[in-house]
């Protein structure tokens, strides 16, 4: 009898599970436009996932409080359903399927990282669900002929291109010797391809070309080689952990290299975590607060920086800024489409041509943003040990002059 009760409870629990999760939310309920997003709240990308989520939330609150989205004479508010993809592509693809077929979401925001975007894009494409993504920069995303994928950021191969060209320029136009180490993931490998192209163009030589594991926390072997071979440029890319590991071990091992180029310095809060040790690191960024772009919602970069810091207690890395921009793009497209028809919204997205606080946005055939250059900043510290990221390239926005070569550890 007791067993029977347990079985009955168990079966009914399953039934309840199934029935509650079938509750279908249409894309637009009442005055709400519901967007779906799978975000890395746990796992190796969790810190960047949170930046992405904060960026989304910040823009949703701002747009809603400033009158929402006006479509066909009615006002709508944004709302987002989040799931945790655990930084795992398999999970992300499943969740995209779930958002679309179970939750009835008809418009998607992107996840964090190129790998996860690669996993989700085939699903959104199959269902014809427009997706504006802000954190998948891998070039191969834009060569698959996807029609419903739009990225507000510049492709990954351009990230450190400028750094190599600058190094060559400073070397009197002669090729430089490059040492590079990249994490084994879609994004970093694409950054690597960009460096290979730049090296070929400028006649530079790659003397170290290492691959680092995911979840990396040790690159001493690479750095030992760097110490022995003395390259002109050291390039490291491996998301937040890569940036932190590189700075930590370069300082520990006192590796002297004239130029150190990296990605994800601001997401890793390098200047805060490692202080003067991170000084002189050159970082690729999609955005910097001192850029002079403007829009009606966040005014400009400085205001966004102040508002974001007030709300979340830390300065916004570019991952947050580009995520906020994705919402602005969606709002603009909905209003121009004047409808919630997915096809019409998609066409409106394709015709986007606007300026946001984050930069100009205009999509190429493949969905990548072609109207926004990358910027390079350098971590610079004052005598009191307070460090700041200062834009050094392109010259149009430069707020400081590049310090090159990096002084030796013995002189610091």
């Amino acid at each position: 009898m007791k067993i029977k009760n347990i079985i009955i409870t168990f079966v009914s629990a399953i039934a309840i599970l199934f029935s509650t999760s079938v509750v279908s939310l249409a894309k637009v309920v009442g005055d709400k436009i519901i967007l779906g997003a799978a975000i890395s709240l746990t796992g190796k990308y969790s810190s960047n996932g949170v930046h992405t989520q904060n960026g989304y939330n910040m823009a949703v609150d701002r747009i809603n409080s400033m009158g929402g989205v006006k479509v066909g004479g009615k006002t709508y508010m944004f709302d987002i359903i989040y799931y945790d993809d655990e930084s795992n592509p398999k999970r992300a693809a499943q969740l995209a399927e779930r958002l679309i077929s179970q939750d009835g979401v008809e418009f998607m925001l992107g996840p964090y990282s190129s790998g996860l975007t690669k996993a989700i894009a085939p699903v959104t494409e199959k269902y014809g669900v427009p997706m504006v993504e802000a954190n998948g920069a891998s070039r191969s995303l834009f060569t698959k002929g996807y029609k419903y994928l739009f990225a507000v950021l510049a492709p990954a191969n351009l990230y450190l291109d400028v750094a190599i060209r600058t190094a060559v320029e400073l070397n009197g136009g002669k090729g430089v010797r490059i040492a590079q180490a990249f994490e084994q993931d879609a994004f970093s490998q694409d950054v690597r391809l960009g460096i290979l192209d730049a090296a070929k163009d400028t006649g530079s030589k790659i003397i170290i070309d290492d691959k680092l594991p995911k979840e990396l926390n040790d690159m001493a072997a690479t750095l030992a080689k760097v110490k022995a071979t003395k390259p002109d440029v050291l390039v490291v890319s491996g998301h937040t952990k890569g940036a932190l590991t590189a700075i930590r071990q370069i300082a520990e091992m006192k590796v002297d290299v004239p130029m150190l180029a990296m990605t994800h310095c601001d997401a890793a809060k390098l200047s805060k975590q490692h202080g003067a040790n991170s000084q002189y690191a050159l970082c690729a960024s999609q955005w910097h607060k001192t850029l002079t772009y403007k829009d009606d919602f966040f005014t400009d970069g400085m205001t966004y920086d102040a508002d974001f810091t007030k709300e979340f207690g830390y300065a916004p890395p570019y991952q947050a800024a580009e995520s906020s921009a994705a919402l602005l793009v969606f709002k603009d497209a909905f209003e121009r489409a004047g409808s919630f028809d997915q096809k019409k919204v998609r066409d409106a997205l394709a015709a986007t041509n606007m300026q946001t606080f984050y930069g100009n946005i205009k999509f190429a055939e493949g969905g990548q943003n072609v109207d926004k250059p990358m910027v390079l900043f350098q971590v610079m510290c004052d005598d009191a040990g307070k460090c700041e990221n200062k834009v050094v390239a392109p010259l149009k926005w430069a707020s400081a002059e590049l310090i090159h070569p990096i002084p030796k550890w013995s002189d610091r």
């Binding site: 199934f18 746990t42 930084s87 996993a119 199959k126 891998s138 070039r139 191969s140 060569t143 490998q189």
Partner: protein
């Protein structure tokens, strides 16, 4: 016997009707089938033979990469397909897609089986913990190695061919569901057939006392290798289908995902009951339902909830669900219990 036929017919009907009754759950149902296959195959090795392996993820990942590579490589240059930032776009026609997938699946089953034979020959001499630790390394090594092979996309990952435009939007989901369901039935029947032969008894003998089995003249090594090859064959098939279903293969997160799939298959078999035919099936089903439920209702805490579930299983169901049922209702399992004898034994203790 009659009861069994009704049961099988009911499961078959449910399986065929499920994607139409719960159209929104097709992907979850397909994954359920894959999980059951993995649990059944792990049980051949870990349950019946008593060789706890964490290495079956190797065959799963291998099958995944092989199936996708063959599917692309049959019609297009594989290197250009996976090249990072490649500028060319290749599109499979429906006929190419299905032909490629069929051949891919065949390769995804056969090659892992051969690999299992080769690896098994060298490491199946290890026993107990040593074997478990050794196989743990296999999956990790495979993930790192495949992450460095350019032709299968290396760290960039491998996007599998997109499903061709045939039929409705639902066609892709239905195709992969029926593929995984068919393979599940094939696996179940094959394993059931194998379990009714002397082969299973030999595996059990190895589990219970390998030295004694050898002393009785059984060539244990041969049986151990064959047992592992059978596991690998079906694991590879499951991997091949999963690759197509997910649409994107990453070396450590999707293919050689020892941290999730590799552990899940062990858990599911233990939850259902090691060394039984139905245990892994029940275990995988219960596990999958709980997992999906946790992911919906305990967002952010899903792994904590899953951890609690595992602790509860270990404490209250150490023998798994089947083992617990067997203890409660021994008559249902054809065991005759002599009440007087049982009492006498309790008193003896």
């Amino acid at each position: 016997m009659n009861k069994n036929i009704i049961l099988y017919a009911a499961i078959l009907i449910f399986g065929v009707a499920a994607p139409f009754v719960f159209p929104a759950f097709k992907v979850q149902l397909s994954i359920l089938c894959i999980l059951i296959i993995l649990a059944i195959t792990w049980n051949v090795q870990g349950g019946e033979m008593g060789y706890n392996t964490f290495g079956n993820i190797l065959f799963y990942g291998l099958g995944m990469y092989l199936c996708a590579s063959v599917q692309v490589g049959m019609f297009f240059p594989l290197a250009e397909w996976t090249e990072g930032g490649g500028e060319k776009t290749f599109v499979h026609t429906p006929a190419q897609f299905f032909q490629g997938f069929a051949v891919g699946l065949a390769v995804a089953a056969i090659v892992p089986a051969i690999v299992a034979g080769l690896i098994g020959y060298s490491i199946l001499g290890l026993r107990g913990h040593y074997f478990a630790i050794c196989t743990l390394g296999l999956g990790v090594a495979a993930g790192e190695i495949s992450g460095g092979i350019e032709i299968i996309g290396a760290g960039q990952g491998f996007t599998t061919p997109p499903f061709p435009k045939v039929g409705s939007l639902e066609a892709r989901g239905e195709f992969f569901y029926f593929c995984s369901f068919a393979v599940l039935i094939f696996t179940f029947l094959a394993v059931k057939a194998i379990y009714s032969t002397r082969f299973k008894l030999v595996l059990n003998a190895i589990r219970d006392n390998e030295d004694k089995a050898e002393a009785m003249g059984i060539q244990t090594m041969k049986y151990k290798i064959i047992g592992w090859m059978i596991s690998a064959f079906f694991c590879g098939l499951a991997g091949g289908i999963m690759g197509g279903l997910v649409g994107y293969i990453d070396s450590t997160d999707v293919a050689f995902d020892g941290r999730e799939m590799g552990v899940f298959m062990v858990l599911m078999a233990i939850l259902g009951g090691k060394g039984t035919l139905w245990g892994p099936v029940i275990g995988a089903t219960v596990f999958h339902i709980f997992k999906e439920g946790f992911w919906t209702f305990f967002l952010g805490w899903q792994y904590v909830a899953l951890g609690v579930l595992i602790v509860v299983i270990v404490i209250y169901f150490p023998e798994g669900i089947m083992g617990w049922l067997r203890e409660k209702y021994p008559e249902r399992f054809g065991e005759v219990v002599d009440e007087a004898d049982r009492k006498a034994q309790v008193e003896l203790k």
